[in-house]
């Protein structure tokens, strides 16, 4: 947990960053990968030690990588449905841990990967589809660990700000923190994916993660804000000023924290805790830190970075 208050635009607002890139496979998703697989083991869906068990999961990156590590360790075979437009390092990390990659159209983004994984799972019912978007073991990991860790480190937290992907972090940490202190505000930061993904045929093709609906996400969240690529990259760069080399979603979340800090009423103080989902290594190929920012922003429109 790092004090990033030097970057806070409001002198009365502290900002803390929890560095999840320091997990074994490099991201916050390590937590849910273990939780998903262990829950499946406890439920008898996966049988430890039995050979030739196959898992399939849609993932644009970190969950696939985390699951690949866990499956490699436990002897399960993992197939990851991966949109083609992810940075090369994500694909490489999947290969490092022995996952099989099945490509889904980049233009359809994560929606397309989910659809393809669902279709393949239906055709191959013997494969195990843990489905991070619908599996309560996902937010449960955050409720059991991420939330309590934050509470132990920063009990004066007034605002928790994290990225919205499956909604697991926001549900698990947000739910835990609000039980401890109902006044804590939970803000979701999201990329403008709805603008980048052209593969929707109609609005009913839209998607809300089942866990978000089932676990009362709309009640847990207090704000939801889009942060665009340029601002995300600017803040990712700014984090290096305090020695932090983090992924682009982490920059987006910090941009959101800055907005939150600016909106705190005059004279009031606040303590914001944010998550840095991963470190910057997997994004070096995007040139986010070094290239002309408008060029990077254009590239970012075609690549899933969040």
């Amino acid at each position: 947990m790092v004090n990033a208050s030097a970057l806070s635009p409001n002198p009365l607002v502290d900002i803390w960053v929890k560095l999840e890139g320091r997990n074994p496979a490099g991201s916050v998703k390590d937590r849910i990968a273990l939780s998903l697989v262990e829950a499946a083991g406890a439920d008898g869906i996966l049988i430890p030690g039995k050979p030739d068990q196959v898992l399939i999961e849609p993932s644009a990156g970190n969950t696939g990588i985390a699951l690949a590590m866990v499956c490699q360790m436990k002897g399960y075979h993992l197939k990851v449905v991966l949109p083609t437009n992810v940075s090369i390092e994500r694909r490489q990390m999947l290969e490092v841990f022995g996952a099989e990659i099945i490509e889904s159209p980049g233009s359809e983004g994560s929606n397309g990967a989910v659809r393809m994984a669902q279709a393949l799972s239906e055709k191959n019912p013997q494969w195990v589809f843990l489905y991070q978007y619908a599996n309560p073991a996902n937010p449960a990991a955050h409720y059991a660990h991420t939330g309590p860790e934050i509470w132990a480190d920063v009990p004066e937290v007034t605002h928790f700000i994290a990225g919205l992907g499956t909604s697991g972090t926001l549900l698990g940490v947000g739910g835990f923190l609000k039980e401890k202190n109902p006044d804590i505000q939970v803000w979701a930061i999201e990329p403008p994916t709805g603008e980048m993904v052209d593969g929707l045929r109609n609005l009913d093709d839209g998607y809300i993660p089942p866990i978000f609906a089932e676990l009362g996400g709309a009640q847990i969240l207090d704000r939801k804000t889009v942060i665009r690529p340029k601002e995300s990259i600017e803040w990712t760069r700014r984090m290096t000023e305090i020695g932090l080399f983090v992924g682009i979603s982490s920059g987006a979340i910090m941009a959101g924290a800055a907005r939150c800090a600016e909106q705190i009423p005059d004279g009031e103080s606040a303590t914001i805790v944010t998550i840095a989902c991963d470190d910057g290594w997997k994004y070096l190929s995007t040139g986010a830190w070094t290239d002309d920012i408008d060029t990077v922003v254009e590239r970012a429109k075609k690549v899933i970075y969040f």
Binding site: P58, N111, Y133, P192, L200, I208, K224, T225
Partner: protein, 93 residues
């Protein structure tokens, strides 16, 4: 109040292919009513028959989701940017 409303790709055909349209209104509800009045093909897509927002649609005022502000009562001011976006599977999960 005059605001810019950005339409998602999937709705643009109903607005003559436009990606952004200027609409008047004091609240999100008024802006949407005017928008649907101008482009009747949008009827039923964004707001359901019961007058509430389609659950697969998100509306943002200056990038803040109105569901967490005052929903359809969220006030808007001159120059605000409204985005209508479909709910999509999130991020690089």
């Amino acid at each position: 109040m005059s605001v810019a409303v950005r339409l998602p790709t999937v709705l643009r055909p109903h607005a003559g292919g436009q990606a952004v349209v200027e609409i008047s209104g004091a609240t999100i509800g008024e802006v949407l009513t005017t928008l649907i009045g101008d482009f009747p093909g949008l009827n039923g897509q964004v707001i359901g028959e019961d007058g509430t927002l389609n659950k697969f649609v998100n509306i943002y005022v200056n990038d803040d989701d109105v569901r967490y502000l005052q929903q359809l009562e969220t006030p808007v001011k001159d120059g605000d940017e409204i985005s209508i976006l479909p709910a999509v599977a999130g991020g690089a999960a």
